[in-house]
Amino acid sequence: MKHDKIGTQVKLPMGRAVQIAVQGIRIRLGRSMVTVSGVVLGIAFLMSNVAGQLISDALSRERETRQIVTLMEALVRNEVGTAAGKTLAVTVHGDLERTERLFMERVAKMPFAAVRVSGANIDRGVSATPQNVAEGAYLLLVLGQQQNIPVDLETLISGMNHVGVLDAVANRTYAGQAPRAGVKRDLLFGKETQEQMERMREHAAQARFRTVWVAIISLLVTIISISNALLMSVTERIREIGTMKCLGALSAFIRRMFLIESAFIGFAGSLAGMVLGALIPLIIYGWIFGFGLMFGEISFVRFGVACLGCVVVGTLLAMIAAIYPANFAARMVPASALRSNV
């Protein structure tokens, strides 16, 4: 110690700072709620925009999926004519897409005499090997996401009654294999279909860009709304900070106290804002378009990430917004802080 008569102020432990900050929120509950509602509004705005984008993406994807399934079913009906008395063969390589699953469900309901299946389980299907699956079949469906089927298609179709092959994987073509007389290939994915798929991918990319853009704009609005709420709540207490310094509070303690307080306020506000901002678009879109259509293609992982992101962003923003005024007030000499008339 440099001076025998002057001691050094004790640094209060973290627990005490948390205690004082929580007490501060509790005893000025009304004012804290105003600040919290500022954060709630900001985060609800951000969350509802992001959630709305995710939902409308999911809706348009779901609509496309249903269009594709209907298109594929129509092609099968067109090729087969009456299904009665005919055998259908289905060979699955790799995982099934949702589109393919929905398509299979539809096809399984058609009145085929028999369905021979390899690599998957289909209602009323008869198990076969990948090599003999097409034997005696009228139409062969090649499904699954695996790009290269391990069986030679020529050998497969040689055992068929009428040769029709329908491949649901977008980019698969059989170029290089000489078509036999009467062989119909690429039923679904002719040039037109390819173009349609291309357009859909473009739409998806545009939608993603729109999502990012809306998120950025909402984030900016949220930053301003939250900073304003926290800036006001700290600035109007500069006199109080001056008083606390007169009573022996260390600048670091004041900074820490406000940081903890704003973290609590930010967390509570963003949690409420997130729930509000997620529920409102879910309910509204669900009401308008039907919940089945909405939940069909929605990515729960992306939705969850958006929820978590909003809470983290809200809490961090509140803390960052409080740092500047708290720092400013903590560094003021007590006399000027007491003179402050904000």
Partner: protein, 256 residues
């Protein structure tokens, strides 16, 4: 009693024995607002004796609040030195300065500066918390101090529910929380009616006599002047004279 006090403070040896609790040497303060400079203090030198009751007297704008802030370590002088207990407070690091404000000096303000959202007892317990004291111990001590200033029964009231005089008593209790050596009061009775102001002044006198606290008040309340041991007159940023209340009365008589 009054006679003894007078003797005590006129005796230079006694003053030296008791020591100076605060010394301000040629303190200057310039406030800059854009291009204009305001010289609030233009070289104030004062020695404050341990255990005395000193009033700082002067018209508004004379620099008495500025001097009050300087000797209390609430502001930094532009030039000059302030010693509290022989320590130059400009040399103190933030931790020592906070310790000084927490335990050495108790501050009382014209507008009370209570924390409105906290109850009386919470206000009094706050400086104790900053000193590292908490829990039941600080609650008991705060209650004891509140009783001492005559507010034992109102510990759980909020400042807004109390009269100005009561609020000022809470502020005094808060200033006493860590048993300071020095009580600094900036126009403590300016917002109070005559009778309440008198009660507060009596309380200061009692604290000074019984606890040996050095009381320094900036004021232009004449009753406060009569109760104090010495009166320091400040005019236009300079200390013009230091008198005793008796000399002041003589002075006023002369004018009449």
């Amino acid at each position: 009693m009054a006679f003894e006090r007078e003797l005590f403070f006129k005796d230079a040896d006694a003053a030296a024995r008791s020591g100076y609790v605060i010394r301000a040497v040629d303190v200057r303060k310039v406030y800059r607002m854009g291009d204009t400079e305001t010289h609030a203090l233009r070289g104030a030198t004062v020695d404050i004796i341990r255990g005395e009751y000193l009033s700082i007297m002067g018209p508004s704008g004379s620099g008495k609040s500025t001097l009050f802030n300087m000797i209390g370590g609430l502001d930094k002088p532009t030039a000059g030195k302030v010693y509290i207990d022989q320590v130059d407070i400009a040399q103190l690091d933030p931790f020592e300065l906070a310790w000084l404000r927490c335990r050495k000096v108790g501050y009382i303000f014209q507008s009370y500066n209570l924390i409105q959202v906290m109850s009386c007892i919470e206000n009094v317990m706050l400086p104790m918390a900053f000193a590292g004291l908490d829990g039941e111990e600080s609650r008991e001590k705060a209650l004891m101090i509140l009783e001492r200033v005559g507010l034992g029964g109102r510990a759980l009231h909020k400042p807004a529910e109390m009269s100005g005089g009561q609020q000022q008593r809470v502020a005094i209790a808060r200033a006493l929380a860590n048993t300071p050596d020095i009580l600094l009061a900036d126009e403590p009775t300016a917002n109070l009616d005559l009778r309440t102001g008198e009660e507060i002044i009596k309380l200061f006198r009692t604290l000074c006599d019984e606890l040996g606290v050095t009381v320094i008040t900036a004021t232009h309340d004449l009753k406060m002047l009569k109760t104090s041991d010495r009166i320091m007159w400040i005019e236009d940023g300079l200390i013009s004279k230091i008198t005793t209340p008796e000399e002041m009365e003589l002075h006023i008589d002369e004018i009449h």
